[in-house]
Amino acid sequence: MFGFLRTAFSTKILRPFTAPHHHQPAAVAEAARGMKVRSSVKLMCDKCSFVHMDLVAGKPVFLEEIVASESAFNGQSVRVTGTLHSYSPALESAVLVEGQSALIVDTKLLGVVKYHVGQTYQFIGVLGPAAAASSGIDDDDMLCARTIWLHARVGRVVDGLDMAVYRRAITELRAASIL
């Protein structure tokens, strides 16, 4: 009986159910490349290439643009700048304000960072659907809760940044169709 079980769960029987490996046989790959390869150097097919992080650039945008058309920015990689209005350690979310516009920033990916209300922050991340658990947000902050949040992957303090020059530079880049 146990012998049967051992046979049933042996690697030979289970092999067809495991994910097929995409390495080419050495002889086939060698023939394709038309050269001999040292045993210390492993052959790689197209799927074996090194994992390359194709990070998308965070396009600089203003908060009022996101607020004006939330659906248009959904899924985009953006860079936003604003003043920190409040921070919720329980939800790991920050409320960023610029002028009359506000956006909730999900800071889970940034780890444990000490945030200071009133400082100017810049975040790079992807705009996506709001987190499901938003019950811990203050009623005051709920007023600026949108259907999309910024899921930040990079955050930094930019105190002293001249916002007038920053805005002017972005406007010029847009006029030249660079952004």
């Binding site: 650039a57 992957r153 930019v158 940044l161 030249a176």
Partner: protein
């Protein structure tokens, strides 16, 4: 608007007459992705704009990824809003012997990188020669500066008085 990169018609022996050949060209990351390789030095020299030849660049942006590979090298990815480019810092023997002296930038740092261009595994990257942390305001200034240089690259061809 994409920068239209045209190959230089001048012989290789005259590339040095272009001042841009000898200095790190101040460019946007987005423009680097569309560079044209210059034969036969296809992995180190590139054409940009109206027949200009470059081999080194100066980039200003935010560090969005840091990857240390043992003590030999550090891979950074720099984002300037127009694109993301890989930059490699090869450590010196002194830095390998004393790892505490090795300066490693962190994600979120605003940096100015100068280095030469190279192609590794089909991907364009910058081999870092100098790197320094800059003020966030300097990034805004760099955008405006590069915008001006970009107009020059597109309009003024690399040509001498004999042509």
């Amino acid at each position: 608007m994409n920068l239209e990169n045209r190959p230089c018609t001048r012989p290789q022996t005259e590339w040095g007459l272009d001042p841009l050949f000898w200095v790190p060209a101040k460019l946007f990351n987005g423009d680097l992705t569309r560079l044209v390789s210059a034969e036969p030095l296809s992995s180190t020299v590139f054409y940009i704009g109206n027949q200009h030849v470059i081999k080194a660049v100066e980039l200003v942006g935010i560090v969005v990824s840091v990857e240390r590979r043992a003590l030999k090298m550090i891979y950074y990815q720099i984002d300037d809003g127009t694109g993301v480019i890989s930059c490699v810092h090869f450590t010196t023997p002194t830095e390998q012997a004393e790892p505490d002296t090795l300066e490693c930038y962190r994600i979120g740092d605003s940096v100015c990188v100068r280095g030469r261009l190279a192609v590794y595994r089909g991907q364009l990257e910058v081999i870092i020669r100098e790197c320094e942390i800059v003020d966030p305001n300097q990034e805004s200034l760099a955008w405006i500066e590069r915008l001006s240089i970009r107009k020059f690259l597109a309009s003024s061809p690399f040509a001498t008085s004999t042509q």
